[in-house]
Amino acid sequence: MQRKTVKSFSLAIATLLIVSLSGCGSNGSNSGVSADKAPIRIGQATALTSEYTVVGQYLSNGTKMAVDEINAAGGISGRKIQLVQEDSANTNPAAVNAINKLIDSDNVVAIMGPDLSTQNFAVAPIINKAKIPFTVQGTNAKLLDGNSWFFRLRPDDGLAAKTAAKFAIEGLKKKKIGVTHDSDEFGVGGRDLIVKAVQDLGGTVVGEESYNSNDKDLTAILTNIKNKGAEVIIDWGHPSQSATLQRQNKQLGINLPIIGSPGMGMPATIQLAGDAANGTYVVGDPVPSLNPDPKVQAWVKKYTDLYKAAPDFHSASAYDGIYMLKMAIEKAGSTDATAIQKALLTIKDYQGMGNTFTFTDGNGAHMVMITQIENGQNNKLIQTVKL
């Protein structure tokens, strides 16, 4: 390699770096546009890369759809919404950087938070310091402790886990319960809640087995659960492993009934599990397609036409999140953070595409559904549970 080429290549990199650094200050301000006409910036940090893009895409689509609708209808009090999306890459440092960028560089007035609880935990100190309304997708029961700027759009795992345990024991009349879960924060948090709920209801957890987010074979886990005498499996995990669990449950002839976490009902999971998904129970966010309200049915159709794929509860909650932010900003009459926070806390019985929202504290969604998968669709309603 010629030394000159090498040098110019390196210089090019250095120049690129300097140019982009010097340019970075300019994108934050709306100079030149009067404040009452300038667009309202709303940020979203979600997985645009990493394996969690599968969820990130639902969130991103739901959000974009709401923003486009609102802008087409004239915006919020005459101001358009400008959506700024940043990648949280499913890691804490990336989520922290994304949130810092949205707050400091993009001057957003509110943020749609990243997908997993751990990232929400990681950014909580920043949000509390910056004092900015922040919608939460993470479902960890402890996530809202001390975080007064967090507004959760999903039912928390405490409710879902309790409902799953109750359904197993009282609905299915099975007292011996096997718990399988992902070894990550979501799965472990879910497991603890399920174990406690089962004990409170007089059942026994006969086996707890965990898997990692990249495991492909769950034979050992299923065999163990079966050998320990479980009559039903409650699973708390993510699409790939949840699908494998259902498949191998049938393939190995174990055939235990499975009650799954919300992820079990995602179209992605059902598609992966194929026929094995039929019969599985899902405890999770209300399923939009099961909502008889014609408004919701029209939304499901519009979404499906737009993105060539059916929406899931993530898309619904993101969509509802944007509309509730709009309501709050209109009610507050300004984009002042404290005013928006106050206005969000007055939302009562808002009928969204997914849940029905009432924010007396940061927890807005108080309803979960027990559904059963039939004919490859998560479309059979067993029970709706409200707190």
Binding site: R3, S10, T118, F121
Partner: protein
């Protein structure tokens, strides 16, 4: 103009630029990145001991970083031990683990050592994630106390910048003095030829294990700083992927030089962030970038601008770095 005067002028200019960074940065997002890059500089300087100077591949640096972070976090949260006591303990704890991995690695070379360090890193991460009663498990450790010094609490990003800068300067000074000590010369001798080093009276066992411990110590200190600055840590941050990023920092900057890891760490913290505007495309592009850098400047950026380490030599007025790759024969 006198060469000496010129050197001082450049030195003062450089110091002025470094000190003015928090003021120049447009907002706290960039200040936050600058702070993160300073922490990574310390990690990369540490990795440089084992890889750059001694010539052994280690993919366990994120694990040492994590051990340091967990030590400070758990001592602070569960035992209410002050940051100032927890920080050195973080370094010591990480270096104990460095010794632990250093001893079996004495017999290992090349691919085998690389794999052993990968395995070690994965085991550490699994323990962080699953040993819930001790590490708080997958949920992570939150509300890690901040840093205060005689009634003054560090709170703003700019204050953190100067605080971290102090540790970076300290790390550079320590690196510099080790590099020019007998120990540093032993490291390099082992890198060049183990057998020759042993015959010339260098204690191989001590040198290799010490190099591992030193690498881990730097990472542990950086981890402690990271935990206190971010107030929340969780196991998924300290992954094999992160170890690869640290390794790439050293390689891209220039392994075996003092400035290389510094430049590499800053570059690899800022570049992916500056590529964010490409949304879902930026990581793919980043991958291509790494391949291109490996093809065009495999010896590291520092060595392009300073033939035979002239730049560092010129600044420090000492004979220091070298240009050949520190690669051992595998």
């Amino acid at each position: 103009m006198n060469k000496k005067v010129l050197r001082y002028l450049v030195f003062i200019l450089l110091a002025a630029v470094i000190l003015s960074i928090p003021g120049v940065m447009p907002n706290n997002y960039y200040r936050g990145l600058a702070n993160l890059s300073l922490i990574y500089v310390i990690v990369a300087l540490g990795l440089n001991f084992i890889y750059g100077y001694t010539g052994y591949i280690s993919f366990a640096q994120a694990a040492f970083f994590g051990i340091g972070a967990y030590t400070t976090a758990l001592l602070g949260v569960d035992h209410h031990i002050s940051f100032w006591l927890a920080l050195p303990l973080s370094g010591i704890m990480a270096s104990l683990f460095g010794v632990l991995i250093g001893i079996p690695s004495l017999k290992l070379t090349g691919h085998y050592l690389a794999m052993a360090t990968i395995g070690f890193g994965i085991i550490v991460q699994m323990l962080m994630q699953n040993w819930t009663s001790f590490t708080h498990g997958a949920t992570g450790v939150g509300n890690i106390p901040g840093i205060s010094l005689g009634g003054f609490t560090i709170s703003s990003a700019s204050q953190y910048y100067y605080f971290l800068l102090f540790f970076v300067v300290l790390s550079i000074l320590v690196t510099w003095s080790i590099e020019h000590s007998n120990l540093g010369r032993s490291f390099k001798a082992v890198r060049e030829d183990e057998i020759a080093a042993a015959t010339s009276g260098i204690n191989l066992t001590f040198t290799k294990v010490f190099s591992f411990a030193l690498s881990a110590f730097f990472a542990g200190i950086a981890g402690g700083l990271y935990a206190s600055m971010s107030a929340y840590i969780s196991p998924d941050t300290f992954s094999f992927d992160q170890s690869i990023v640290f390794f790439t920092m050293v390689l891209i900057g220039g392994a075996g030089t003092m400035l290389g890891p510094v430049i590499g760490a800053i570059l690899l913290t800022f570049v992916p962030e500056l590529l964010r505007f490409m949304k879902e495309y930026y990581m793919a592009l980043f991958g291509i970038g790494i391949v291109l850098i490996m093809i065009f400047i495999p010896q590291g950026i520092v060595n392009v601008f300073a033939k035979d380490g002239q730049f560092a030599e010129w600044i420090t007025a000492k004979r220091t770095a070298r240009v050949e790759s520190p690669q051992k024969d595998l």
